[in-house]
C-alpha cells in the first residue's frame, strides 16, 4: 500500500478549515464587538432569501459582498430613523472576503442547530459510520453551548459533572465535524490512488 504524502498538507488544511469553521459557528454568539453585531446582520441576510438566490448563480456572478453590504446599510438606515443619528459612514464594514466568511459561518450555524436538534431527539445521521454514544445528552449539552451558556451553567442545568459537559461537547463537536465533512464531500482530498 502506498500513501500519497503530497496530499497530507491539503488534507490537513481542509480538515483544519472544517474544524475551525464548525467551532467558530458553535461559539458564534453575536456579542462583544462591532464585527459580531454586523455578523448578526449577516445572519439576517442569510435568512432573507437573498443567499438562496445568489447560491443558484455561478460563483463569478454572485457578488455576495455588495449584496450583504447593501443589506446592512439598509438595516442601519432603518434603525437610524428610530433614534439618534448613527454615523453609518463611520462604521467600518468588513471586506467582501470577510463578509463571505461570515455568511458561511452564519449558514453553518443554522445547519449545526438543525443537527443538534436531531441529536436532542435521539436521531443520529445514518451516514455516520463512527458511533456516537449518548446522542440525546450530547444534543442537550450542545444546544445550550450554542445558546452561549458556559460549561458550568450547562452542568448545573443538566445536573451533570463539569468534566462530563466538556466530554460531551468534544464528542458532539467531533460528530458535527465529521458530518460536515460528509456534507461538503471530503473524498476529493484523498486521491483515488490513496484510497486504493
Amino acid at each position: 500500500m502506498t500513501v500519497d504524502r503530497t496530499t497530507d498538507a491539503d488534507m490537513a488544511a481542509q480538515f483544519e478549515r472544517i474544524i475551525r469553521r464548525v467551532k467558530a459557528s458553535m461559539s458564534y454568539r453575536g456579542s462583544y464587538s462591532t464585527r459580531d453585531i454586523l455578523g448578526a446582520l449577516v445572519a439576517r441576510w442569510v435568512h432573507s432569501g437573498e443567499w438562496q438566490r445568489l447560491r443558484a448563480l455561478p460563483p463569478a456572478e454572485r457578488h455576495i459582498g455588495p449584496s450583504v453590504r447593501r443589506f446592512i446599510l439598509d438595516r442601519l438606515e432603518q434603525v437610524r430613523g428610530r433614534g439618534e443619528p448613527v454615523e453609518v459612514d463611520a462604521l467600518a464594514l468588513p471586506s467582501d472576503d470577510d463578509l463571505v466568511e461570515q455568511v458561511e459561518t452564519a449558514e453553518l450555524h443554522v445547519w449545526l442547530a438543525d443537527r443538534v436538534a436531531e441529536l436532542q431527539r435521539g436521531e443520529v445521521d445514518a451516514r455516520m459510520r463512527i458511533p456516537l454514544a449518548h446522542p440525546i445528552e450530547v444534543g442537550e449539552v450542545l444546544a445550550r453551548a450554542l445558546r452561549g451558556f458556559t460549561q458550568r451553567r450547562i452542568a448545573v442545568e443538566l445536573d451533570i459533572a463539569l468534566g462530563l459537559v466538556n466530554r460531551r461537547i468534544a464528542e458532539g463537536t467531533s460528530y458535527l465535524v465529521v458530518l460536515r465533512g460528509i456534507e461538503e464531500g471530503i473524498e476529493g482530498i484523498l486521491g483515488e490512488e490513496a484510497m486504493s
Binding site: V3, F15, Y32, I37, G83, A106, I130, R147, R153, V178
Partner: protein, 563 residues
Amino acid sequence: MSGDLLAELREIAAAPVGSWRSLVHQRYAGDAELIRQALLWLAAERAGADDDATPQAEIDPRYELVARLDTGATATVWQARDRTLQRTVAIKLFHDRGSNAVSSVIGEARAACDVISDHVVRVLDAHHGERSYIVMEMVGEHDATGALVPGLPASDTRPRSVREAARWVMQIARGVHDAHLRGVFHRDLNPRNVLITPISRRARIADFGLAARERTGAACMRGTPGYLAPEQARGGARDPVAMDVWGLGAIAYDLLAGHAPWVGAPGDEGETGETGETGDEPWDRATSGAPPPPLRRAIPRTLRRIVERALALDPAARYASAAEVGDELAAFLDRRPTSHDRARVRRVWLWSARNPQVALTGIVALVLLGLVAGAVWALEGLRAEGRALAVELDVQRAEEERIAHSVQATRDELAAIEQRLAHRNRDLTALAERIDVERAAHVVTIAAKEGALQQATYEARALLGQIDDVRADQAVAESTGRVFERIWASARHEADTATHERIRIQGERDSAIAELAELRLRLEQLQRELERLRPLPPAPPSTANNLPEQEELAPHGDFAEVL
C-alpha cells in the same frame, strides 16, 4: 462492533499524528468512506484534545495551572497557583491566538488594573504572546473544610431574594463608580461579567474587555445583544456613563426578571435565545424604540422604579452616575426614602421600618394614651349618664304623684258614674215595662191590620181579574179597529181610484164636447156650403128647422148613455 471501532480509533489517536493515515488505511482497507470519516474524526479529536489539554507549557512557569474553572466563547478561565507570591490566582486564557487577542488582552488589562475597588476583580498581570492571558485575583472563599470554593458568574447564581439582587446591583454600582472615577468605562455590564463570592455572596465586576478610557469619543456599537443600551444598539452611544447606568439596570432587570431586558421570558413567542437569527432578535428589540417589558408587580415598587429609571430609553433621563444608582439601592435596602418615595405616609412607613423599636414604642404609647383617654371619656360619660338618670327619676316621681291624683279623681268619677248608672237602670226597667204593654197593644193592632190586609188582597185580586178582562176586550177592539182601518184604507183607495176615473172620464167628456162643438161648426159650414150650392127651391121651413134640433139632441142622448 461500535465500541470496537471507537476503541480502535482511540488507539490510533494515541499514535503519532504522522502515522494516522497509514494506520487507518491499514486497518480499514477497502472502506473508503470509513477511512475518510476516521481521518476527519481523528483530526477533530486532536483539535478537541488541544483545547482540553492543560496549556501549562504556554504559561509563565511562575503560575501553576490547577483546575479549569470555566470555558466561554472567547477564553477559558483557570485556577492557578502563583509560585512566587504563594497565592491563588485566576488566569483567563484566550482561545484566539491572533492579533485580536493581543489587543483585547492589553486593552482589558490596562483598563482593569487602574481600578481599585472592593467590588472589581483586580488584574494582576497580563501576557501576550503565542497564547495571551490575563492573571487576575481569584474570586473565591474557603469553606469550613478549608477548601477554596470559586465564585460563580451572576448568570449562574440566581439571587435568593429580591433584597439580595438589590444588594448585588448596589455593590456592582459602587464598583462601576469606582471605575468611572479612574476614567474607566465598562460598556458591557451583564450578569456574565459579575462574579458572586460563594459564601459571603458579594458581587464583583470582572471582564473589562470592552472598557473605554475616555468619556467622549466615537459612536460605539458594541456590547452583548440582550443587554445593549438602545443608543448602543443603534451605534449612536457616546456617553459611556449612561451606557454603564443602563448596564446596571439591565443586570438588575435580569436578576429580578430571570432574563435579559431584550430577551423575552422563557416561552415567549419569537424567542430564539441570544443568538437567535430568526424572529424578534434582542438587537431588534433594543432598536425598536419600545422599553423592556415591565417587571412583575410582586417586586417592590420602589425597586421597580429604580430599575425603570436606570433603563430609561433616553440617556438623559437615567441616573446621572453609577453612584446615584448605588445610593438609591442602598436607601432601598436600608429602608430609607429614595427619590421615588416622596409621599409623607411612605416616608413615615419607611422610617418605622427602619426604626422598628422606636416605632413600636411610639405605637404602644399611642395605644396606651388612647386607652387612658378612652377610659376617662367613658367615666365622664357614665357620670353624665348618672346625672341624667337622677333628673329623670325626679321627673318620674312627680309623674307618679300626678298619676296617683289622677287615679283618685278617676275613682271618684267612677263612683259618680255608678250612681248614675243605678238611676238609669231603674229608668230602663220602667221603660221596659211600658214597652211590654205597648208591645201587647201593638200585637192586637197588627192582627187587625192583617185581617184588613187580607180583605184588601181579595178585593185587589178581583180588580185584577176585571182589569184582565178589560184588557182582553181592549185587545179585541184594537184588532177590530185594525181590520176596519184596513177596510177603510181599501175603500179610500177605491174611492181615489174612482175619483181618478171620474176625472179621466170628465176629461174625455170635455174632449167629446169640444169635438162635438167642432163637428157642429163643421156641420154649419157644410150646411152653409150646401145652401150655397143648392138651387133655390126652397125647402119647407119645418123640415129644415127640425133637423138641426135632432142632430143637436142626438149627441146629448149618447153622452147621457156614456155617463
